[in-house]
Symmetry: C2
Subunit: 474 residues, 2 copies
Amino acid sequence: MKLYEHFAENIAELIRTGTLKPGEKIPSVRTASRTHNISAATVFQAYYLLERRGLIEARARSGYVVRNNAGSLLAAPQLSDNVQARHEIAATEVDVSELVFSVLDSIKDPHTTPLGSAFPSPDLFPLPRLARSMNKALRDMSPHAIVSDMTSGNANLRRQILLRAMSAGNKYTADELIITSGALEALSLSLQTVTNPGDMVAIESPAFYASLQVLERLKLKAVEIPVHPSEGMDLDILADSLTRLPIKAIWVMSSYHNPLGASMSDEKKKAFCDLIAEHQTPTIEDDVYAELYFGNQQAKPLKSFDQRNLIMYCSSFSKSLAPGYRVGWVAGGKFSEKIARLQLMSTISPSVPAQAAIADYLQHGGFDRHLRKLRDTLEAQQQKMLLAIEKYFPTGTRATQPNGGYFLWVELPPHVDSLQLFKLALAQGISIAPGPIFSASRRFRHCIRLNYGNSWTPQIEEAMKILGRLIASF
Amino acid sequence: MKLYEHFAENIAELIRTGTLKPGEKIPSVRTASRTHNISAATVFQAYYLLERRGLIEARARSGYVVRNNAGSLLAAPQLSDNVQARHEIAATEVDVSELVFSVLDSIKDPHTTPLGSAFPSPDLFPLPRLARSMNKALRDMSPHAIVSDMTSGNANLRRQILLRAMSAGNKYTADELIITSGALEALSLSLQTVTNPGDMVAIESPAFYASLQVLERLKLKAVEIPVHPSEGMDLDILADSLTRLPIKAIWVMSSYHNPLGASMSDEKKKAFCDLIAEHQTPTIEDDVYAELYFGNQQAKPLKSFDQRNLIMYCSSFSKSLAPGYRVGWVAGGKFSEKIARLQLMSTISPSVPAQAAIADYLQHGGFDRHLRKLRDTLEAQQQKMLLAIEKYFPTGTRATQPNGGYFLWVELPPHVDSLQLFKLALAQGISIAPGPIFSASRRFRHCIRLNYGNSWTPQIEEAMKILGRLIASF
């Protein structure tokens, strides 16, 4: 991180924690330069960065002030229909795929404003640089690697993934690492390894809809554990459910949860790992947004607190670098060998050229520089979307303000039907992700997930305005 | 096909059908040139090609003569332990994966002479040309395609596959075409679409071991239908089994069968399609060796005779062009939509760059030229391996002589134990594929599959000699 980025981050932290409040002036360039003993140019660069990130704005005659930080005005979601007594938690047959597909099919049109999409804009990724890496990697590749890399995976890619894991405080070994066709294959093979049809699996409520679909495909039953909008899974209810029900596995996103954006604290992560150790419960950790954190510090994965090798840690490059390349991985703990064999019986191997290209990029392409830019962009776009919600959506709307990823979870007034809203919005060329696709029991009827992973354009501003009007019409 | 290739093929056909017999002289260059009204240079080119393919040889003072065609001396396998009364055919629990993995794991060492490998030598593929196609395709790709091509597949690749299908006499539509991560994903998703755990599936005996592993993974039972070493699946037994047993699906390789190399005749393929139409049995056709035919004419797939859309036709580029790219497809007939959805719940999509590279190669790279060369090479290597078997293996050895692919099925004297032979050979640095891995009921104990997909080197000649000695030692 460069000096100006470091300085900007210090100020951002003061804003985030409320030490600097909306409307408050921040030190002038001259003052800051003198106080911190850094050049005026560096301060300028830092303020410019904070402005781009939507945290401060220039005001005539006042210099820079902290922006009316939208998140601080919007209340956090209550997820009131997610509150259940412990004894009410039971297993649900999963039957949500039809609904999910009907939603996904209808938002494929490239002219739709993609607020319901699961992907960030491809313009955010260094695709031309990655193409150069592909070119180089294929030129250097021995013909025999095209066959031998299928079973073991590209050796350089494996090394790069292990190095990044190490520097992020995660810990797993080369032995347990399996390269997969994206994170979804990693997750799906992991779950398959530790379950049989009919088994119960604890998942989050709300949960990423693809996890519900995988459960449905594998004929597994869902035990839905409520997730707090910022603090993550309810561990009391999880503990109780593990005691009462024959739960065979847990599927969890402990950081930058999709759709809520919640992250568990380190203490909570430790407690989670104690809990699964006590019950010896195999756990699938979905950490695909790991690199998309805001602020100084990446959240630690559950895996880094796991003493018993119970966690199958799944991630990918699809959200941070190369959607469409379909390269992910799983560090499978004690289940690695089984997962590897299952892969040989399903797809054999992810694409060898894609692995080689990403390996070269990680080594030479400037991944960290790209990620810093990507995070700033996403944080700025989050601010803009929160402001638009505040401006256009009816009073009583609540929204999360995650510290990573590119999704907002928006809780609308209770009488709003998000499936109905989905249809109305689509008729206007706008997609949203309606709440019930994130639940095996079709809760969250008045909630939606919005994607802020696209450049903030007048088209998106307009779409937010239309959405606001549609919501008000209920 | 060029004129000299056409002329060479006419002569090859005369040799194959026995019109020209081993040792017999073929017309002199001058005579052939005059008779067929083609230039002497063209005849030379044709004879040179036939020589490379191992069909003729130059003899001092006699000009070119037909070679002692090895296949004509070796008897065809009898598969005697495959003969069963119809009423003995029953469902078998599949439990062969451990055995298969123990074999596959032990032959990974790159220094092993890979006669047991499932892959042909990567040197046979135009990988540098394909890398150029990758480079061009990525340069031309819009960033948005990297996301949008995930769900629909690369549009140009889809077009190229449909065009090739059309010109090969196959018939399927864009609607039913799904691009997959290699053929194995296509096959595995197809089977999953039409079965539930516990169901019975008719498979071939012997069968490609990966199909047995997929059955095992999906907890399906195998009904093993004997395959004739050159004519393919026994339709009488299949018909009887379909009547007697609740078979939910069939998995079949109707052309260039792995491991036997058998191909059904067109009449038999028609009869097969009548049979599945009568029983309305969903059928998975594995046609991965389709492009590796010897002679003039590609075998027609079952799919081209299917009036009822019951056939899920699966193939890939892994054997013909680009192993490791992991690009295959399925034309799923009436089951397409279900297959596509299952894929979205498993791996989402094959790698987008790999799809784009192959599409560009198919359009501009000279695929047909490459394939003609590849077929000639494989046919020549088959001849050399048959000659080596004749020379080094004990009397009583039988072998197939397939008209495509790169496998020989070798039936050894009945007292030879191929699992034992496998271990002895491996100790000498030679891999073979022992018969029992091709059978849910572990038949074919005295059979092996040999791969002739590698350039014929002194190392391979020596390996065949050692194998012969090991076999004789039983």
